[in-house]
C-alpha cells in the first residue's frame, strides 16, 4: 500500500481510486500539472517557504492519504454486507444501581419501538448507549449486541459509519443550497453511484409525506417545517448509511407520520421513537418505558391499544382536514 504513492502517477492513482479527488480538494492540494508525477514527487515540489506559509504538514498529508484510501476501500466494501438484522439491549442498571426490569430486549429490522418516560428519565442515555455500542462500559452498564453478537468497534470511531441516525423536532437545514444541490452533496459524500436516480427517489418520497409539494429548485432553508421534516425523513431513509434511526418526536403539522414511519421501515431501518404523543407511541409495535435512568417496562402494543389508535387517527384526520380547510379560506361550521 505504502508504495502506491511513489509507484503510481497521480493520473493512475485517480483512475484506481477516484475518491482521492475529495482528499486533494479538501486539503487544498492543487495537483493540476502533476498528472504524470507520483504523489511523493508532488509533495516534494513544495518549497520550504510554501510549507511554512500555508501550514502544510507533508508527513501528515502523506499518512493521511494512505489512511483515507484504506478507509474508503473498507467503506465501499462494507456497502454490500452492512446488513443489520437485529439490535439487542442487555439489561444494565438504573440511576440507583438497581438492575433494570428486563433481561434482554431484541428489536428486529423493520420494527418500530417507541420510548416513553418523563423528561430527564434517561432517554438520551439509552440512545447514547446504542450509538456507542456500549459494552458494560457506560454509567448504565448496559450492553448492546448487533445480530446477537458484540459489534465491531468501528461503529464507535468511524466518521462514515455511525450506528444511529437522528431526526428531531429541533433540527433545521443550515446550508444555503437548493434541494437538488443539497441532495447531490449528500449523495456524493456517501459515494452513491446512481446519484440522479437517488435524488429523484428522495424528492418523490418527500413530496409523498408532505402536505405542501416542493421541487428540486426550492432553497432548503426556505422550506416550511413540514416540508423540511419530510425531506429529512426521506433523505435519512434513502441515503443515510446508519441502520438505526432515532426519532425525537415528529410534529403533527404538515406531514403524514404513518407514511413517514412506513418509508423508514421499508428501507430496512430499525426505528426508535422517543415521544410523548399517544398516536406515535401506539403506532410502534412495542414501547419501552424509562424510569429513573433504567428501562422499567417493555410493553407490546395490544389489539385494544391498536383500536384506540384507530380512533385517535380518525380524530387526527379531522383536525388535519380542518387545518387544510382553514388554509384555503373555508368557514368551519361543524366537526
Amino acid at each position: 500500500m505504502n508504495n502506491i504513492l511513489n509507484a503510481l502517477t497521480l493520473k493512475e492513482l485517480q483512475q484506481k481510486y477516484p475518491f482521492v479527488i475529495n482528499y486533494f480538494e479538501e486539503n487544498r492540494l492543487d495537483v493540476e500539472g502533476f498528472e504524470n508525477s507520483t504523489f511523493d514527487e508532488y509533495l516534494n515540489h513544495f518549497s520550504e517557504e510554501e510549507i511554512e506559509e500555508w501550514g502544510i504538514d507533508i508527513k501528515g498529508i502523506r499518512e493521511g492519504l494512505l489512511e483515507y484510501i484504506s478507509q474508503m476501500i473498507e467503506f465501499l466494501g462494507l456497502e454490500e454486507d452492512r446488513g443489520i438484522e437485529s439490535l439487542t439491549i442487555v439489561a444494565g442498571t438504573d440511576k440507583s444501581g438497581k438492575k433494570e426490569n428486563f433481561e434482554e430486549f431484541t428489536i428486529r429490522k423493520s420494527e418500530i419501538v417507541s420510548i416513553v418516560g418523563p423528561t430527564g428519565s434517561g432517554k438520551s442515555r439509552l440512545l447514547a448507549d446504542i450509538e456507542w455500542a456500549a459494552q458494560g462500559d457506560t454509567p448504565t452498564k448496559r450492553r448492546i449486541l448487533i445480530n446477537g453478537e458484540v459489534p465491531d468497534m468501528k461503529w464507535r470511531f468511524s466518521s462514515n459509519n455511525k450506528l444511529v441516525a437522528q431526526l428531531s423536532q429541533n433540527m433545521n437545514f443550515v446550508m444555503d443550497l437548493t434541494v437538488y444541490e443539497f441532495l447531490k452533496l449528500h449523495a456524493q459524500s456517501r459515494m452513491v453511484e446512481r446519484e440522479e436516480e437517488v435524488i429523484k427517489e428522495i424528492i418523490e418520497a418527500a413530496n409523498n409525506l408532505s402536505g405542501e409539494k416542493f421541487d428540486l429548485n426550492s432553497q432548503i432553508t426556505s422550506l416550511s417545517g413540514g416540508q423540511s421534516r419530510a425531506l429529512m425523513i426521506a433523505d435519512t431513509a434513502i441515503l443515510s448509511s446508519s441502520p438505526i434511526v432515532l426519532i425525537d418526536e415528529i410534529e403533527n403539522a404538515g406531514i403524514d407520520r404513518k407514511k413517514a414511519l412506513n418509508l423508514l421501515v421499508s428501507s430496512d431501518k430499525i426505528v426508535l421513537i422517543a415521544t410523548h404523543d399517544p398516536i406515535l407511541a401506539l403506532m410502534a409495535d412495542k414501547r419501552i418505558v424509562i424510569k429513573n435512568g433504567g428501562i422499567d417496562k417493555i410493553i407490546e402494543t395490544s389489539k385494544e391499544e391498536k383500536k384506540v389508535l384507530e380512533e385517535l387517527e380518525r380524530m387526527d384526520s379531522i383536525i388535519q382536514k380542518m387545518r387544510n380547510d382553514l388554509r384555503i379560506g373555508l368557514i368551519i361550521d361543524s366537526i
Binding site: Y23, N27, G55, D57, E131, S159, N172, H186, S242
Partner: protein
C-alpha cells in the same frame, strides 16, 4: 497527572464539552482541573468555578494566543501537579485557524461545530488536521444529512483522528469522550523539552511592534503583498 489540550474556533462548544466530560470523570472519583487560554476576554473560568473545578485563566492580550500558550504551558503543568490533579485540561480558542497548541506526545482534541459551514474543515489548519480526536458539536440542530456531510469533510482532512459527536447541552457522547482522555499508566511531570506538533508562523512586521499607520513607508520586516493580478499595468 494526565494532560489534554483542547482547542477549537470561538463558540464551537469547547467549554460545554469539557464541563460535561468532567462530570463523567467526577463519577469516577478523578480530580480534573482546567486552564483556559484566551486573547482579550473570557468568563468561562466562572463556569468552571461554579462547577467546583480548579481553574486558572490566561489572557494573551497583545500577543498571539498560541505563542502565549507555548510560553506558559510548562508553568501550567507545574500548577496542575501542585494541585494534585489526575487530569489537567488546557482549553484554547483557535483564533486565526493557522496554528494549533498541540504538543507531540500530549493528547489533543479539536472541537468544531456543525453550524460553522461545510467549508470550515478546509479552512482550519493544524488545529483540526493534527488533532488526535475531533469532537463535532451542535448536531442536535442540523439535519442528519448535514451532519453526515460535515463528518465526511472532517474525515477527509484528518482521516487518522477519532471523530465523536457530542451534544454539549445534554452531554450525550461526553462520557464516551472521557474514556479516551484518561490513561492510568500515564504520568506527566513536565513538558520541558517536548515539541509542538506544528511550527507557528514566523511573522514579525512593523505592525507586530505597534505600528498603526498605513502605507509602504511604514511597513518593515516580514511583509507580504496581496496578488491582485495587475502588478504590471
Amino acid at each position: 497527572m494526565n494532560l489534554v489540550t483542547v482547542s477549537g474556533p470561538p463558540s464551537s462548544g469547547k467549554t460545554s464539552v469539557i464541563l460535561k466530560v468532567i462530570e463523567a470523570f467526577k463519577d469516577r472519583g478523578l480530580s480534573v482541573g482546567v486552564v483556559k487560554f484566551d486573547c482579550l476576554y473570557t468568563d468561562d473560568d466562572l463556569l468552571y468555578e461554579k462547577a467546583g473545578i480548579p481553574v486558572k485563566k490566561g489572557l494573551s492580550g497583545s500577543l498571539c494566543p498560541d505563542h502565549y500558550f507555548v510560553s506558559n504551558i510548562e508553568e501550567v503543568v507545574k500548577w496542575g501537579r501542585k494541585k494534585n490533579l489526575d487530569l489537567l485540561i488546557t482549553e484554547s480558542a483557535g483564533l486565526c485557524n493557522r496554528c494549533s497548541p498541540y504538543i507531540r506526545s500530549i493528547k489533543s482534541v479539536c472541537v468544531i461545530d456543525n453550524l460553522s459551514g461545510i467549508n470550515t474543515p478546509k479552512k482550519i489548519g493544524p488545529m483540526l488536521k493534527a488533532a488526535d480526536i475531533v469532537v463535532i458539536t451542535k448536531g442536535d440542530i442540523v439535519s442528519q444529512a448535514e451532519r453526515e456531510v460535515f463528518a465526511s469533510r472532517v474525515n477527509s482532512v484528518n482521516p487518522k483522528a477519532i471523530t465523536l459527536h457530542i451534544n454539549g447541552l445534554t452531554g450525550q457522547g461526553a462520557f464516551e469522550l472521557s474514556t479516551l482522555l484518561y490513561n492510568e499508566e500515564e504520568d506527566i511531570e513536565t513538558v520541558q523539552g517536548e515539541s509542538l506538533r506544528f511550527p507557528m508562523p514566523s511573522a514579525l512586521c512593523s505592525y507586530c511592534l505597534g505600528e498603526t499607520r498605513i502605507g509602504e513607508d511604514y511597513q518593515m520586516g516580514n511583509v507580504r503583498k496581496i496578488k491582485l493580478g495587475d502588478e504590471y499595468e
